[in-house]
């Protein structure tokens, strides 16, 4: 074990002192933040003013929303409940871009439905949701509590907003949450590809510069392979953590510098006097954090992201190690990398497919196939599983882990037999022979 750790430490050290690793550590989060900025500032239909109809059958809102007029919205109230079809098709409602359904149970179940004709940007969604939530807070405090509004805000539960397409209200899944899963899955694939290639190059380099025989006189091939996988995996993890920290920090800065209008003017006014509370509100108001914390089961997501990340990395690193150790020359390796890169791209396409066809049979199968499981299951997880459906996630993870173990065993056989072979042409029968030995 001590030797495995020594090998792992060397691998980590080598990665940490490599210029490309450091560059990726800085450029990666910047690229992600740039894409996020584009996403946040351009998603959804652009309009100067949104016509909103609030359907408040029980007149809970008393025909008012916010004391200060928000130029972004022009708001009308209707004291009736109109069903989706009527709102979608009736001529008199055509001028409204957004509808907010406030039913009589909202004070208990905290559910508010917003439907749209053309999808509003995150900014518009959050602003409208914010106005509705603040108004409901006032009502709740007035009706049921002797607390001040400030005290109430500190303890209240957040409202659940469901965003629906007016023309397709039964599509209960939010694509946005699917995209979050897709981004998580794609990050896994990106890291697997990046660090899998590092593994391949590392193994092939040790082989080509002939240090491997010196090493093998001190450690066994399986120790050497385990140390490499552990070290490179840990370097990938460090890279990921730094990405996480930098992206979070970047989002926070983005929010303050580029999207200050996401804040309610009243909140800004209160901010100076109510530092502690407002820090929380701040976090809750960030679109990205809202997206993950409110629409996605974040704790689950992070746990399963880590598990799929580790299992996926182990699974694919077995293939990269196999190729690296068995090639006769470096150019030989290139042609064997192409199929793996194709499979990794296929995994991303599978995640994309899962967003749009989550209930298809193919999606289900792709979730169990180890090659595509990390992306497909991340999307599935971000959509959430119906009651009793979580076994699919566990089964997929189990299959992936078992496959990783099996392929690591095969990889170590190929590694042991191939690492000291030079100058041959790599062919499949040769690999099979090495596996059998």
């Amino acid at each position: 074990m001590n030797k495995i750790l020594l090998i792992a430490k060397r691998e980590i050290w080598e990665r940490l002192t490599t210029r490309s690793y450091i560059s990726l550590m800085i450029i990666g989060p910047l690229v992600v933040l740039g894409l996020l900025y584009i996403f946040l500032s351009s998603t959804g239909a652009k309009k100067q003013s949104w016509e909103v109809l609030i359907m408040d059958e029980t007149e809970l809102f008393e025909n008012k929303l916010n004391p200060k007029k928000d130029p972004l919205f022009s708001i009308d109230f209707i004291n009736a409940y109109i069903d989706y079809d009527e709102f979608a098709n009736d001529k008199k409602f055509q001028k409204y871009d957004l509808a907010v359904w406030v039913n009589e149970r909202v004070l208990k179940n905290k559910n508010v439905i917003i439907s749209y004709r053309s999808k509003p940007s995150e900014l518009v969604q959050r602003r409208l949701a914010h106005h509705v939530e603040r108004r409901l807070e006032e009502i709740l405090v007035k009706e049921f509590s002797s607390m001040s509004l400030k005290e109430f805000r500190a303890i209240k539960q957040p409202l659940q907003f469901s965003l629906k397409d007016t023309y397709d209200p039964r599509d209960k899944r939010s694509e946005t949450s699917g995209w979050v899963g897709f981004v998580f899955g794609s990050i896994i694939i990106f890291f697997i590809l990046s660090f899998g290639m590092t593994m391949l190059r590392g193994v092939a380099k040790e082989k080509s510069n002939r240090i491997v025989e010196v090493l093998l006189s001190s450690v066994s091939p399986s120790q050497l392979l385990s140390g490499k996988i552990l070290g490179i995996g840990f370097a990938a993890f460090i890279q990921f953590v730094v990405w996480g920290v930098l992206i979070s920090l970047g989002l926070w800065i983005l929010r303050i510098v580029f999207f200050p209008d996401l804040l309610d003017p009243a909140m800004v006014a209160n901010q100076l006097g109510e530092q502690a509370n407002e820090v929380n509100s701040f976090a809750q108001q960030s679109p990205f954090v809202e997206l993950i914390y409110k629409q996605i089961q974040y704790s689950n997501m992070l746990v399963f992201f880590s598990l799929f990340f580790i299992a996926g990395y182990l699974f694919y690193s077995a293939f990269f190690a196999m190729i690296g150790s068995s090639v006769g020359s470096e150019s030989d390796g290139q042609q064997f990398v192409i199929p793996i890169v194709m499979i990794l791209l296929l995994a991303i396409v599978a995640g994309y497919y899962e967003i749009y066809y989550p209930d298809s049979l193919l999606s289900e199968w792709l979730g169990y196939i180890p090659f595509t499981a990390p992306t497909v299951m991340m999307v599935e997880l971000s959509y959430g599983f119906s009651n009793g459906g979580a076994w699919k996630l566990y089964l997929s993870l189990f299959i992936l882990m078992i496959s990783a173990i099996v392929f690591l065993i095969l990889a170590s056989r190929i590694y042991r037999n191939g690492i000291l072979q030079f100058g041959h042409r790599l062919k499949l029968p040769l690999l099979l022979r090495w596996i059998k030995k």
Binding site: N209, S217, V219, L420
Partner: protein
């Protein structure tokens, strides 16, 4: 110290080693000789547990060798290399730690060896910044850094420049003086004669010979003598008559000659001296023993010839 017992190994249905048996005694230098493809490297890899044998045992200090014993072995493989982007110091530390040394001891030893080779300034240099000869020195230090009691050197003189060959030869001799055991595989027969106590010759996976260098040369002598004299060559040849066969004559100038000849019938060196003593002034006379390269060729060649037929 090290005993090889009935080691056999096949690869793709081809025998690489067949029933190899020999021992390396404590404090001796044993040369493992054989042409390319004889199986020397495979045997060294088996001893270092890099590959497994199909049959047989390796005994180290009288017991079946375990992986823990590798810490007592210093192995310089024929195919050798270093991490090019690592510094000399870090690289040596890493390899020493893999051999089981503590960090403190490893650092001490690194300083000792860098000082010994007068290369203290190289510690922070990356291997890619060093010349080939410099890297070779580092490679050798990496092999002996953990103070092994058994050194296994596979073609230690190949790829090294003459200065480093001399340096390694001196170090090998010093190791022997310190009572350590050394197993060397080499094509360099001059080195074998110069530093080895005994030799084992293998060819096509089979063991052909084992013995001390002197005995091996003695066993392969062909009754050849070299006599150097001053005088008339014709008088010398006439004096020999039919009892001797001249193989080679070398004119050294100024009426001096060296002649290599074989005895015929029962003639001895005394008979030779008696025959020529009155005719020429004898300068020197000695029996010519075959060099290890000749022993090597003699043993390997017949087999090849039989195969060719």
């Amino acid at each position: 110290m090290l005993t090889i017992e009935e080691i056999s190994k096949s690869y793709r249905r081809q025998k690489i080693l067949h029933d190899i048996n020999f021992s390396v005694k404590e404090g001796e230098i044993l040369g493992l000789l054989g042409p390319n493809g004889a199986g020397k490297t495979s045997l060294m890899r088996i001893i270092n547990q890099i590959i497994d044998q199909d049959r047989g045992h390796i005994l180290f200090k009288g017991k079946v060798m375990r992986s823990a014993d590798l810490a007592e072995i210093g192995y310089l493989p024929e195919e050798r290399g270093l991490y090019k982007t690592m510094s000399v110091h870090r690289q040596l530390l890493y390899l020493a730690r893999l051999r089981g040394m503590s960090k403190k001891d490893a650092k001490q030893q690194i300083n000792f060896w860098l000082e010994k080779f007068s290369i203290e300034d190289w510690g922070k240099k990356r291997i890619e910044e060093l010349s080939k000869g410099m890297a070779q020195k580092i490679q050798f230090i990496a092999t002996v850094l953990h103070d092994p009691s058994l050194l296994i050197l596979d073609e230690p003189f190949s790829g090294f420049d003459p200065v480093n060959i001399e340096l390694i030869r001196d170090e090998i001799k010093r190791f022997k003086k310190e009572g350590r055991t050394i197993l060397i595989s080499t094509h360099n027969m001059n080195s074998v004669e110069a530093i080895c106590d005994r030799a084992v010759l293998i060819n096509q996976g089979e063991m052909l010979l084992e013995g001390s260098i002197t005995n091996l040369r003695d066993q392969h002598k062909e009754g050849l003598y070299e006599i150097c004299f001053e005088g008339n060559m014709i008088s010398f040849a006439n004096a020999l008559w039919v009892g001797y066969e001249i193989i080679e004559k070398i004119d050294k100038g100024e009426n001096q000659f060296c002649v290599r000849l074989k005895m015929r019938k029962e003639n001895s060196i005394n008979d030779l001296l008696n025959a020529v003593m009155g005719q020429v002034k004898i300068l020197s006379v000695h029996e010519v023993l075959p060099g290890m390269d000749e022993v090597f060729v003699q043993q390997v060649q017949p087999k090849k010839e039989v195969e060719d037929e």
